[in-house]
Amino acid sequence: MNSPASALAPAEATIFDQSRHGRHAAAQLPPALGAEVPAALRRRTPPLLPEVSELQAVRHFTRLSQMNFSIDTQFYPLGSCTMKYNPRGCNQYAMLPEFLARHPLGPESQGQGFLACMYELQEMLKEVSGMQGMALSPMAGAQGEFAGVAMIRAYHRGRGDLARDEIIVPEAAHGTNPATAAMCGMKVVEIPVDAQGDCDLAALARVVGPATAGIMLTNPSTLGVFERTIASIAGLVHDAGGLLYYDGANLNAILGKVRPGDMGFDVIHMNLHKTFSTPHGGGGPGAGAVGVGVRLLPFLPIPVVGRDGERFRWLDERDLPQSIGRLSAFMGNAGVLLRAYIYMRMIGRDGMQRIGEFATLNANYLLARFRQAGFDPAYPQRRATHEFILTMKREAREQGATAMDFAKRLLDFGYHAPTTYFPLLVPECLLIEPTETETKEALDGFVEAMVAIAREAAEDPARLKGAPYTLPVRRLDDVRAAKHLDLTWTPAP
């Protein structure tokens, strides 16, 4: 497809534009050994890969990296994403050469160091979640959700209870919850939340019954408040024969303070890339470990690490014949799991409880400062958990300054934007999660930037609409992107 016609040069030319035929990174060339590919199976034209020097590649990708916001460079209060500091030590020790070189199918006798870490990680995650069994293999939160709902399905089927094909989801739930239920062949039943942000218990009572397989909940919810009726919800769903699924997206809020197992949940996934601080990597890799109570133990996805005396080994279908099976080619995102293990060991038992406390302290402090500055919380009667929602409804109505305008202008002030327009049921919302690793000074600076932007909205609204001004590009034409699909580079004609 042709590049969009444009008078302006791109901030960084593509690596293909920098390519010159015949150039290569000589130090990286393996020996030229001939290989006999049968003629009918041979590639006839070389692939479109750049021909650049090693320095050109290094410079190009270094420059691209400088066009990103990141935790290491900016405050990143992205609600529901837990953008806390990713300790460098976790990366360094997970990338020791022997760990990197180990083949996943290598002999278990040469994997005892790695397996010991994985076994201990399982045990620590069981303790902090209050669950009885743990599997580490899901490669992201969404895959953990899939494993959880698949286990719920397998449990009911195993009992011959075949009519249970409905998963209940609050309307404020993250989009992956209903998408996961559908992937597992379940019907999705949505229930409303009340004006205070709690689940509507009467609505729940109306929909539970013999078709209920389970309910998927986040607690604290995506509204940034603790689901106070959790004990009643658990009672209603369990009495109807359904199971409770805990989406661990917001576990950082209650880490060490409340354990999902103690709240009555039967299955939980944890986003290790949020709560246990493994890096988000510009969109993955994550890790979505799943924990289960006693009823779902036989169904855990394989492999899990078992222990025979002093030896660790993988348990597979022979050990867990009722397992829902494998979710990945090997054992999931091992390197991510190592980082989470190192993090948990550095935090320790006391540190883990302090994380929930200080994440909550930072959020409530930030909320109090915003309130004093005249911004509107979406749930003014409620405590913030580790995050909270501001609604920019008034600013949008009175000045035409939307949540998106605030988000884009914040970028010019050197702050990553909060999560915008999620959850969908709060108009013009900004979901703000500071995390425990930010200083009071960073939070104060963020409030001051928002105040300055609000002032600008009143005095010079056009300025706000045009933001950002200081980044490699200004607002992008998303409609054009979807209408004139340009998904791969092609040489100029």
């Binding site: 444009s6 692939p47 479109l48 290598g106 399905r153 103690d262 990945s328 402090y365």
Partner: protein, 457 residues
């Protein structure tokens, strides 16, 4: 203290602004009966120095001198620059690029990745990555059912010569939506999937045919004939490929008369370390006509308010955060960091480097097969032309022989006898460009000794 920066003064000042006496008061909405006790089974905190020492000791316990295992994860040289750049904080600690203006680095990298992977596979469009090759095959199967509007059967033909864990994983992930996977046998002498094995499905409603090239045994399939059979019978064709091989093998977009419809695989060989199985990086490419059925993130190039070119996530109406239960998949975040490593690897290697890597791997495997074939009690199990893996048959059970090799600090291959009992005591071995003639001779000598020890026992 757990990466928490607060001084006592900070805490006092913050509590005063909130208007509470202590931090515990912030949890007053949580019923007291739910409060956790001490987490006694979690060890106390360790410093970075202490944990560093523990990890170094554990890593040392896992060291191995020579690795000849492939079976879906491949050891290749990784240029030092790849991870020096990939672990820069601006890449490592960034989120999914929803705020496009503040994420142009990640977005342009994805666009370049899409370009490289689309070209390697000979297809029009690529997404921004999948979790791994196995889950990508599951997603491709689900996608084929959505994309093939005339087929009502949701039947996927899956050759037995496809990687066994990929087959298992596809069943688990796609099984919830009532897809059926039907096995297609292979020819036990050649190790190939013959078109004749598909004859019993002639004229039936088949949604898709899967073809792995090279197949799990490393053998090259007759991809043209298989692809044409699929299209003649109204099925979509899904290719599972080793991306390194595509530097020298015909891309799936050119298989048969029309080329395949969906291509998946794992880009782990492109600069991603073996690392006990992950994180790796799945990929998926397809024809432009199916782009709206593709799962995962996709990046497009567009212009900004001033007309400057820039990049953004596009076609998001397919995804879970918009479509909820009607989304193409529940996948959201996946393997961005590894996608970055793969893109940098390909930029540095270029067409010539990748071609050399593929050819050298193929040549080293041929050399390995010749060396092992000279040993007593070892024979080549399958006859067909191969890429960089080979199935060899031993005169005794594989497990104890591999243990003997492990004692000599050699990872000797993958014991395939449990997955393919009909083939006897078979061992899948792999050599890439990282192996020298001396390494191969050392392995052959060690295997010979291990067989002797095992025979004597």
């Amino acid at each position: 203290m757990a990466f928490i920066p607060h001084t006592d003064d900070d805490v006092r000042a913050m509590l005063a602004v909130i208007g509470v006496d202590d931090v515990d008061a912030l949890f007053d909405e949580i019923p007291a009966s739910l409060r956790a006790g001490a987490l006694t089974r979690i060890p106390p905190a360790a410093s970075e120095m202490e944990i560093g020492r523990l990890m170094s000791a554990r890593a040392a316990a896992d060291s191995c001198e020579l690795n000849f295992i492939g079976a879906g994860a491949y050891e290749h040289h990784i240029p030092a620059a790849v991870w020096a750049i990939t672990t820069r904080g601006e890449i490592y600690s960034a989120y999914t690029p929803y705020q496009a203006e503040a994420s142009q680095g990640t977005l342009q990298t994805i666009y370049e990745f899409q370009t490289m992977i689309a070209s390697l596979t000979g297809m029009a469009v690529s997404n921004a990555s999948m979790y791994d090759g196995a889950s990508a095959l599951a997603e491709a199967s689900l996608m084929a059912v959505r994309a093939h509007r005339r087929s009502k059967s949701a039947r996927i033909l899956m050759p037995r010569a496809v990687n066994p864990t990929y087959r298992k994983c596809a069943r688990v992930i796609a099984g919830g939506q009532n897809l059926s996977f039907e096995e297609v046998p292979f020819d036990a002498a050649a190790g190939q999937t013959p078109v004749a094995a598909l004859a019993r499905f002639d004229g039936q409603d088949v949604t898709a045919l899967v073809i792995q090239q090279p197949n799990f045994f490393g053998v090259l399939e007759d991809v043209d004939a298989l692809t044409d059979w699929g299209h003649r019978n109204g099925a979509l064709v899904i290719a599972v490929v080793n991306p390194t091989s595509l530097a020298i093998l015909k891309p799936p977009g050119e298989w048969g008369e029309k080329g395949v419809d969906i291509v998946v695989g794992d880009a782990q060989p492109f600069g991603v370390p073996l690392s006990s199985g992950g994180p790796y990086v799945g990929f998926m490419t397809t024809r432009m006509e199916h782009v709206r059925q593709m799962p995962g993130r996709i990046v497009g190039r567009t212009v900004d308010l001033d007309g400057r070119p820039g990049y953004t996530l596009t076609l998001q109406a397919r995804e879970q955060h918009i479509r909820r239960s009607k989304a193409t998949s529940n996948i959201c975040t996946n393997q961005g960091l590894l996608m970055t490593a793969a893109t940098i690897y390909l930029a540095i290697m270029g067409p010539q480097g990748l071609e050399r890597t593929a050819s050298a791997s193929m040549a080293r495997t041929a050399e390995l097969v010749a060396a092992l074939g000279r040993l007593k009690g070892v024979e080549l199990a399958l006859g067909g032309a191969r890429f960089h893996e080979a199935l060899i048959r031993l005169d005794r059970p594989v497990g104890p022989v591999l243990e003997e090799l492990a004692r000599r600090r050699i990872a000797g291959g993958f014991d395939a006898s449990a997955d393919y009992p009909e083939l006897g005591n078979v061992l899948l071995v792999c050599a890439t460009e990282t192996k020298t003639s001396e390494d191969i001779a050392a392995y052959a000598a060690a295997l010979g000794e291990s067989l002797r020890v095992s025979r004597a026992a």
